[in-house]
């Protein structure tokens, strides 16, 4: 509620100081400290790994920001900074981002939405975490296709939403289809992964069966060597390692193919728990050894 009323005030200010706010929008953010000084309007953080955001995504983000009277901060994250370290790549990446950001800004400005963008590099969760701490009033995070929601959720103190492009060009249609596509996506994912498990089960099952057959059809020779002792002790040990891999993979995929997997609720809780543990060592006092 507070954000909304503040937004109204901002809107009035924006209309009366039209030129000034345009100047504010024209600011490219390389320096994050500027961001914190700018208005206390809430922000929607939009994160992508690509160097351009698709048009429907831009339209959707702008329309949501407009309705919620929020600003948009788009973060183009280079998740492979070492790989694309060559200057040519870098420049190509950067110029593509600038173009995309300019287009984004135009669309945002058309609906009176504040837009800024940053180029970041590194892990998605760390980038989101950093940005959310620097930009104090992030309402929620929108992630583009290609980003795993679990990874984003790891670093985000606020809710994270997927944007799914269904091929339509208008923002409204995406919003309506979003939930459905996600649910369909999950259903699709479930059936494809079950198929994947079944295939793997068959592959490893055949491998395991072959290994068992090899051992038991040649049991006399095998027993002769495997019980010789001395250096031959490594034979049974090596054998069980091989069987662990083959049979272990078979049984794992077997249960997954049957749909018997770990509880998702517990596993996601564990992901959150590990966040707090990692912070523990930082809390310990450090000795400053400055002479």
């Amino acid at each position: 509620m507070i954000g909304y009323s503040k937004g109204l005030v901002m809107e009035e200010t924006m209309h009366s100081d039209g030129i000034q706010s345009a100047d504010a929008q024209r600011m490219n953010i390389g320096d994050m400290s500027q961001q914190s000084r700018i208005a206390k309007q809430s922000t929607i953080l939009l994160v992508t790994r690509k160097n351009n955001l698709a048009e429907p995504v831009i339209d959707y983000a702008v329309s949501v920001a407009d309705r919620m009277n929020c600003k948009i901060l788009a973060s183009y994250v280079n998740t492979l900074p070492l790989f694309e370290d060559s200057s040519i790549h870098h420049r190509f990446f950067a110029s593509a981002i600038e173009k995309n950001a300019a287009e984004f800004k135009k669309k945002a400005a058309a609906r009176g939405v504040d837009f800024e963008y940053v180029q970041e590099s590194g892990k998605i969760s760390k980038v989101i975490n950093r940005l959310c701490h620097i930009v104090k009033r992030v309402e929620f995070v929108l992630i583009d296709q290609g980003i795993k929601i679990e990874e984003a959720a790891l670093g985000s103190p606020v809710p994270v939403f997927n944007i799914v492009c269904s091929g339509s060009r208008t923002g409204k249609m995406i919003e309506q289809r979003q939930t459905k596509t996600i649910l369909n996506g999950e259903k699709q994912m479930a059936s494809t992964s079950k198929k994947g498990y079944l295939t793997k089960t068959l592959i490893f099952g055949t491998l395991t069966a072959g290994l068992y057959a090899a051992v038991f059809l040649n049991s006399e020779i095998i027993m002769h060597y495997f019980t010789k002792g001395g250096i031959y002790a490594l034979l049974p040990v090596a054998t069980v390692f091989v069987f662990s891999y083959a049979h272990g993979s078979f049984t794992s995929n077997f249960w997954s193919a049957l749909g018997i997997e770990g509880s998702k609720a517990t596993i996601t809780k564990k992901v959150e728990k590990s966040k707090t543990v990692e912070k523990r060592p930082d809390a310990r006092p450090r000795v400053q050894a400055n002479a």
Binding site: T227, L234, L235, P236, F243, T266, K270, V277, R280
Partner: protein
């Protein structure tokens, strides 16, 4: 052959019944192991011996299946975020030392009091440890269950020990605790010694991790699998050096146990913390009864008692069946609770998507 003695070791002939027996028992043992971190293997040694397998071959082949099973189980539970590798490896190393100490103690008793004396020592250790530790764990599990099962309070002993700053102090991220290595070593040594004596170190290892070191039951049971892997690998190399491993028995047991251990690991993600303690305690107490009934045989042999032959044979048979019953009970509790929790979760998920 590098035999331990001059005798020729006999390896049994396998038939379909034996094969089925080994696979099934392997599965149930694996299921329990995957869930409580240990305890599946102890039925296998007497089980194999009842098929006619010589004692040393039974122990060796059992151990040779234990460490790959522990490996697969710990990998699965690692993916669920339950394994503290650092803690497991450190404990494993000291547990291995404990195993060697335990073997020396066994040897000494064997030389002093003979085979029967050795067997009695094993049984007494069994009963003492299982009753004491088992009752303690059961009391704790019931207390937690009454309290609603949610939340975990660090045990008093562990909390106090963790506060003692005795170099070197070690921090364990996954287990979320910080404690002096001097408190880890005795737990690990005891685990190894017990493993050498009754083939199950985890009955001290897991409670030790929970109550002395201060890990949750899920972390303790998962990390114990790493300890079991290290101990099992070390022990197997020694037994295999003496040519005692019957790889056919090992592979048959492994055939069943790798199914079971994965299922047990999956089960831990569905149940509350106290359930692991509950299953462990139940198994320990029933096995204690089983081992208690095995004692008259050795006491008679040492001429400490004079039960009739018939009663001794009845008690010995009952002892074996009760042990199997212990394992089956544990397995049943795990499966029932796991599938109950699973259907509850999927019902909830269905309700949420419809809403």
């Amino acid at each position: 052959m590098h035999g331990a003695g001059a005798e020729v070791v006999q390896f049994i002939d396998l038939n379909l019944a034996y094969v089925a027996f080994l696979i099934i028992v392997g599965f149930i043992g694996g299921l329990v192991s995957g869930f409580i971190g240990s305890g599946g293997a102890f039925v296998l040694t007497p089980g194999m011996m009842s098929l006619g397998v010589p004692g040393t071959v039974a122990v060796a082949s059992n151990m040779c299946h234990k460490f790959p099973k522990a490996l697969v189980g710990s990998i699965k539970r690692y993916r669920y975020g339950q394994v503290d590798i650092k803690l497991g490896v450190i404990m494993g190393v000291f547990a291995e030392i404990g195993v060697q100490v335990g073997i020396l103690v066994q040897k000494f008793i064997l030389e002093t009091w003979g085979q029967a004396g050795s067997n009695l020592y094993v049984s007494v250790s069994f009963v003492a440890v299982l009753v004491i530790v088992g009752s303690f764990v059961l009391r704790d599990a019931l207390k937690l269950k009454k309290a609603g099962g949610e939340g975990w309070v660090k045990p008093k002993i562990a909390a106090r020990l963790q506060q003692i700053e005795l170099w070197p102090m070690l921090t364990f991220k996954r287990a979320n605790l910080r404690i002096s290595v001097w408190f880890i070593i005795p737990v690990a040594l005891a685990t190894g010694m017990l493993a050498a004596t009754i083939a199950v170190g985890g009955f001290i290892g897991v409670p030790g991790l929970m109550y002395i070191i201060g890990a949750t039951s899920i972390i303790a049971s998962a990390t114990e699998l790493v300890v079991a892997f290290v101990m099992g690998l070390g022990g197997t190399l020694i037994w295999a050096y003496f040519g005692m491993v019957d790889i056919r028995l090992t592979l048959l047991i492994l055939g069943g146990s790798l199914f079971g251990v994965q299922l047990g690991a999956i089960g831990t993600t569905y149940v509350k913390d106290y359930m692991i303690k509950y299953v462990m305690a139940t198994i320990m107490l029933i096995v204690a009864v089983s081992r208690f009934l095995a004692m008259p045989k050795y006491m008679n042999q040492l001429e400490m008692t004079s039960f009739s032959e018939v009663s001794v044979s009845v008690m010995t048979q009952m002892s074996f069946y009760i042990m199997c019953f212990a394992l089956l009970t544990g397995a049943l509790i795990i499966l029932v609770n796991m599938f109950k929790a699973r259907s509850a979760e999927s019902a909830l998920a269905r309700a949420q998507t419809q809403a």
